[in-house]
Symmetry: C2
Subunit: 129 residues, 2 copies
DNA sequence: ATAGGTGCAAAACTTTTGCGTCAAG
DNA sequence: CTTGACGCAAAAGTTTTGCACCTAT
């Protein structure tokens, strides 16, 4: 018989996780988001947050980032954009595409470039001193 | 009294770690490198490898990357270059600057861009099929 | 001789997973 | 009803650290 893609259910937990993630522009870690979501759903488990973030990233509803230091961060906005880290405070900012000059496409022998993910670094207003 | 920067000693372990890392272009994880170094220094500990990689990255002798999935990878080459990941096999390649068109510098209100780190994605020769 | 580095083992974290139960569709 | 998702807790995996001893300088 034909493989059917498993259906996906919109549970309270999933929608609260998504809702809270979308309110933030801080690119929280799973654990940070867990602590926020817990205020609305005190009995939710960290495992559920991980599972849902993974699921949402898989279905391209959210973005999963691997930036700077050790930890995976999540981004509620799935529009393509780049990121910038402040070298002083470490905060992560979004760089909308309209601020971008153009995406570079290097000619690399033996490799076909299809896309790029750019992490800029620099200083944000508060830290430029 | 004036703070003196702690001196740094070239131990056998440190030089073997650096030597092996420089032989590779695979951007190994700490653990992978540990297993390679262990062939020459069977009694070395994983903690020592972590400590040294951290130290070498700190002193800008090597590069510490955070790419793709969960894990930190290290790069023995400290010349500035970008990286590319194959969407199929996941291998990480170096993109030398001479292959680069030009580095984009977006005009972002409230943020001064000083540099960029670009991760390209695409397909390597073996995987393009 | 001094103090930075090492090996070992334990601890701290982050992330994943097995299982019995619950609930969305 | 069916089965995807949940909560819980245990496990797995990665990275850090305390401590006593060693060794580069």
């Amino acid at each position: 018989m034909a493989q059917t893609a498993p259906q996906t259910r919109m549970t309270v937990q999933r929608s609260v996780i998504l809702d809270e993630l979308r309110k933030l522009n801080t690119h929280p870690t799973a654990d940070e988001l867990y602590n926020i979501v817990r205020k609305r759903l005190p009995r939710i488990s960290l495992g559920t947050v991980y599972r849902n973030l993974e699921h949402l990233a898989q279905s391209e509803t959210i973005l999963k980032l691997n930036i700077g230091e050790n930890i995976k961060r999540f981004d509620g906005c799935c529009d393509k954009h780049h990121h910038a880290t402040c070298l002083v405070c470490g905060r992560i900012y979004d760089i909308p595409l309209e601020d971008m000059p153009e995406e570079p496409r290097p000619k690399v022998p033996g490799f076909t470039v299809t896309g790029a993910n750019i992490f800029f670094e620099g200083y944000c207003t508060g830290c430029r001193s």
